[in-house]
Subunit: 322 residues, 2 copies
């Protein structure tokens, strides 16, 4: 990103962080501690930035910071619950909330955070925003359930994989953009253009994530390498690899997943094969195609500083290494 963009975003990121901290200060002590543990541990703030920029494309009139932050809160709440489901110990180089505060408190803190986010969105007195908000939460939860349902399913198709990542990740990117547009009463064509932009960079974002899980060192991501494989999570690098194997081998892997006894040696072999056959790079290339689609989605939007920054964020999504 250029320095101008970095300076532009720095001010917003600072406003986002301030709002998130101040707003969660009013929770009861334990909920405050848990929600701030996840919210103030240095997320990238991509979702709220999308909301702010999409609102400003319409000319800035309303204060869109709270609405933007409500999207980050949905994201954080889903991370609190997801880390319990995946039993993940580390996130952003920190121990995950449930390893510190226990599962029970973390489940409830996630619930309270979701409710708070929904209250913030409701303050805009715009029924359409609230409907979008509720759909974002439902789609994100449903996506996570679909993913869980297909854990260890070595026969998962690419089509099913895309349905899952659209639900669990890309829809929230789409809604982040749509909400910004709605906040300023954008015409439906503009809202759709920005929404599709969000959807496509959301898909790309998850593809890069899934690639990094096999390709990046834990020093960069703050998570152990090959975590998805150990959890039986079917992501594109693994799906592409399995497509090259015999049906009997896929069945054996599915069995090992089901019985939770995929040996360390088998894991290493799969990780080695995936990275050396460049399925991580293929996954990144696919992400690049979605970023191209996203770029095209903005063709109908008049040139302005915010559009320029949205395009740079799209490039950042594909360039990131952690």
């Amino acid at each position: 990103m250029t320095d101008v963009v970095k300076i532009y975003l720095k001010k917003d990121i600072s406003s986002i962080n301030t709002f998130l901290k101040t707003n969660t200060n009013s929770f009861s002590p334990l909920v405050k501690e848990i929600t701030q543990h996840i919210l103030l541990s240095g997320g990238k703030r991509v979702r709220p930035l999308l909301t702010l920029l999409c609102a400003r494309i319409q000319g800035k009139t309303k204060d869109s910071i709270p609405l933007a932050c409500s999207l980050e809160m949905i994201h954080a709440a889903s991370l609190l619950h997801d880390d319990i489901l995946d039993d993940s110990n580390m996130r952003r180089k920190n121990p995950t909330a449930h390893t510190i505060f226990g599962n029970n408190a973390t489940i409830l803190a996630g619930d309270a955070l979701l409710a708070r986010a929904s209250r913030i969105a409701a303050e805009y007195n715009n029924a359409y925003i609230v409907k979008l908000f509720a759909s974002a939460v439902e789609d994100t939860a449903s996506g996570a359930i679909d993913e869980m349902y297909h854990t260890g399913d070595a026969e998962l198709t690419e089509k099913e994989y895309y349905e899952i990542i659209i639900g669990k990740t890309a829809k929230l990117f789409e809604f982040s953009c749509r909400m910004g547009a709605c906040c300023e009463n954008a015409p439906i064509e503009i809202e759709d253009a920005l929404g599709n932009f969000g959807l496509n960079i959301g898909i790309a974002f998850q593809l890069v994530d899934d690639s990094l899980d096999y390709a990046s060192s834990s020093e960069d991501t703050g998570k152990p390498i090959g975590g998805d494989l150990r959890e039986g999570k079917m992501t594109l690098p693994l799906i592409l690899y399995l497509q090259t194997r015999e049906k009997s081998e896929r069945k054996a892997i599915k069995k090992a997943f089901t019985e939770k006894n995929l040996s360390a040696q088998m894991q290493e072999e799969i990780i080695y094969n995936i990275t050396h056959a460049d399925f991580t790079q293929t996954t990144r290339n696919t992400a690049k195609q979605y970023i191209e689609k996203a770029t095209q989605n903005l063709n109908s939007i008049a040139d302005c500083k915010e559009k320029e920054i949205l395009l740079q964020i799209a490039q950042y999504v594909i360039a990131r290494i952690n």
Copy 2:
């Protein structure tokens, strides 16, 4: 309840059940199964009935069935999560959802159900309803967290106990009534009167619940007797009992709760003392006082069939034995 009331409510309960079933049919298979497991297992439907009646007091114009059902969905979602937190095996004489479907799927199904409920409320295009809805969810989650935070706290005061039960239970009763009123744009005095009615019967409802936990046989409640004590849940019968004991004994019990080693003999002794000193009846008597308050809350409401039924529901809350 009189036969006329039973017939009046029967029709509504049937409409509520039909809506809950039809609406959850559109979830993905696993979420559908989990949400229907809890929603269609014979709850008393008190919350949605309150919403319907409070809407009709204003003269029925809008269809308040979906809104009423969204309240039952919040309740069901909180039960899904609570049963995980309490590790309860039985509810309404059925195995709890997480014992059948596992914790992970049950957490996410709760999330999806909350989101669906919020979308239904948003369909009324009334920002105030959405704000009430979000507050109801946040208060319910916060109350559950406060309760968890004070698990085994043998020094809990009555004041703190009431704060907890207002959050985890009574606020949802209050909001059920308020939402009905808002759905028909009731003047604020009417909304407040109905809201206070709901709050007071909500407190009474929880007091009766907490009394039944010590007093009722599992045949009636579908739950094992003394479950609250085993979980270290500080409820009024136990608080009243502890107030009669020496400080040293309270400390010993607190220690046993903390170390999770309250012996079976000690449990039996406490349960025996509580029931024989009639602390369960004292708790019921306190509930009766809240029902009297609730009855007074309706003084400003003009006489009508719905008011009559609300008053009968209040009497049902205090009379119930399961």
